[in-house]
Amino acid sequence: MVDSGGVVVDVESLSKTFGTLKAVDGVTFQIREGEIFGFLGPNGAGKTTTINMLTTLLRASGGKAVINGYDIRKQPNEVRRSVGVVPQEYTADEDITGLQNILLCADLYGLPRNDSRPHAMELLELVELQEAANRKVGTYSGGMRRRLELASGLINYPKLLFLDEPTLGLDVQTRSAVWRYIRMLKEEYRMTLFLTTHYLEEADSLCDRIAIIDHGHIIKIGTPDELKATVGGDIIAVGVAEAEPDISADIAKIPLVKDVKKNGNEYRIKSEVGEESSIQIIDLVRSKGLHVTKISLTKPSLDEAYLELTGRSIREEESNKMDAFKQRITMMRARR
């Protein structure tokens, strides 16, 4: 069933056009068995549209995708049976209880009746909703509803789970609970997860690999560390007692150092591996007879990487300055 080489999701040039809008414009990526793969992008980037195509809710306009070895166009029912989906919006029926909702899902998947009730109760316990199981969903809080959606998405014993913005609008406590469930699904049940988010810290702390998506394009795929590395490296700030002589040229010769800027008594140095370079920098400064007053090492955050990556793509693709400005505002919003 599972593809060779442990690739459970294989997407090639997938696209979706709504009228004239290219909501998803030829995305290509692969997800390996057992990893948490994240789509990170601002509102309207095409995250939900991609998930909808992969879970067969929407017909793709172009490209192909193979999920768990099944083609999304030719074998939609096999795809549906083999994956779990936790959509962005709430889908539970408010007029019936949480348990009834999950049992309904079990019936829709065709789970045997004698299995579905105990399994539904186990899943409700897993997301700590067992006490509310027999309450109407209309009385649930937002966090409870989100957890109910998660439990419903697991009813068919999926090996691959799609989560669309699983922590959107949740308070800090519920968000960390959802993170805990997600890690548990990966680590204890060896599930593969595909999640979308526009929270940077969420992508950073949960995902093994991230694809940054904007305007329907994947800008870059990599581990969080790889993405951060695109910022150009760690930033080392070195303060010296003496403003003269300028030793920038000597510092630039140190291996791994990529860029040096001097500002009064302070040097700002970009290095591929900050820990190694900083020691060599201190040695160099001292060998020149200068005195180090302070030193700091900053690892680039995903925030910076994201801005750098999406910002660059805008400058390359769009000559219109006003457009670029608008994009930047959108990105700032997304960064919040």
């Binding site: 809710l57 929407l58 049976r81 959509p87 889908t91 789970l111 399994h119 897993l126 204890e188």
Partner: protein
């Protein structure tokens, strides 16, 4: 937390075999809507108000039959003869009661599409469509819940009409069973029609407009309320193309004996022989439900 640990151990055993029949989940979907319906009896009560008011107002208070016979010096027997010739029964109330069965079916079936719109709005439709449940089962479930609801409501209207004095001289097990088969065919066809019209819609205002656009014309271009005899010729032609007319005609023949030789002798003519009524309704139901399922494969998507 300890409980959660236990749940973890059990929750991810090997998956059991799934039922892959194309109709799996059909009962679950139908039942969901029915549970929501009977848990909220207000909806049922409100939908019964209108046919009962009609029965009371036009069937009892107005005595429409008198319009045709209110000349001086007309005997009781003559009045009965005119009624029989016009309505196929001597009781206009009974005539109207049969029409009201069609009325309640029509108005319940019309809202079958509305429930599709709500499900789309509240996200449930997306959930259902991300599962392997058949698209045909989703549509058929919507049709079936409407069929069950409208037949139960029709039974209540019939019981109330009898309590208010509907003529039961012609009632028999066959007549009542036949009536419900006829009503079943009618609601199956109409529910399929309205569900079909809602397949792509997520907007309840549009849906309301569609209901109003179809419902009243379907009702008033039929023989449900008034005898075909008194209609202008063009309208009489339209009545013949309206499936509701055949259902009402069939129900009157079975429940009121309007197809009897006596009624015919008095000048009443049925719309069609009883078997033709059944054939028309069966064809109507078959065509629309098959069309609904075929369209659901093509149109039912996000």
């Amino acid at each position: 937390m300890a409980q959660q640990e236990r749940a973890r151990e059990k929750a991810f055993r090997a998956a059991p075999n799934l039922n892959k029949s194309p109709l799996h989940g059909l009962w679950a979907l139908t039942n969901r809507d029915l549970i929501k319906w009977y848990k909220n009896p207000i909806q049922l009560i409100i939908s019964l108000v209108q046919p009962i008011v009609w029965l009371g107002l036009f069937g009892k208070a107005f005595n429409i039959a008198a319009l045709f016979t209110s000349q001086p010096g007309v005997t009781q027997a003559e009045i009965a003869a005119v009624d029989l010739g016009t309505f196929g029964t001597t009781s206009y109330f009974s005539y109207l009661a049969a029409g009201m069965l069609a009325f309640i079916i029509l108005f319940t079936a019309a809202f079958a599409g509305m429930s599709v719109v709500w499900d789309r709005r509240f996200g449930f439709m997306n959930k259902a469509m991300s599962t392997p449940v058949g698209r045909g089962a989703i549509v058929t479930g919507k049709v079936l819940q409407s069929v069950v609801r409208s037949l139960i409501q029709a039974a209540i209207v019939l019981a109330i009409a009898v309590a208010l004095g509907m003529d039961t001289a012609n009632f028999s097990v066959f007549a009542i069973a036949g009536t419900f088969v006829m009503l079943f065919l009618m609601t199956f066809g109409l529910s399929s029609l309205f569900v079909m019209l809602a397949l792509r819609s997520s907007d309840w205002q549009t849906q309301m407009a569609i209901i109003n656009l179809l419902n009243l014309p379907l009702l008033f271009t039929s023989n449900a309320m008034l005898p075909v005899k008194i209609m202008p010729a063009w309208l009489q032609t339209v009545v013949r193309f309206n499936p509701v007319s055949y259902a009402v005609d069939g129900v009157r023949q079975m429940l009121l004996g309007s197809g009897s030789a006596a009624a015919a002798a008095a000048g009443y003519s049925v719309l069609a022989p009883l078997w033709v009524d059944f054939a028309v309704l069966a064809a109507f139901a078959a065509v629309l439900s098959v069309l609904g399922i075929i369209l659901s494969w093509r149109l039912l998507s996000k």
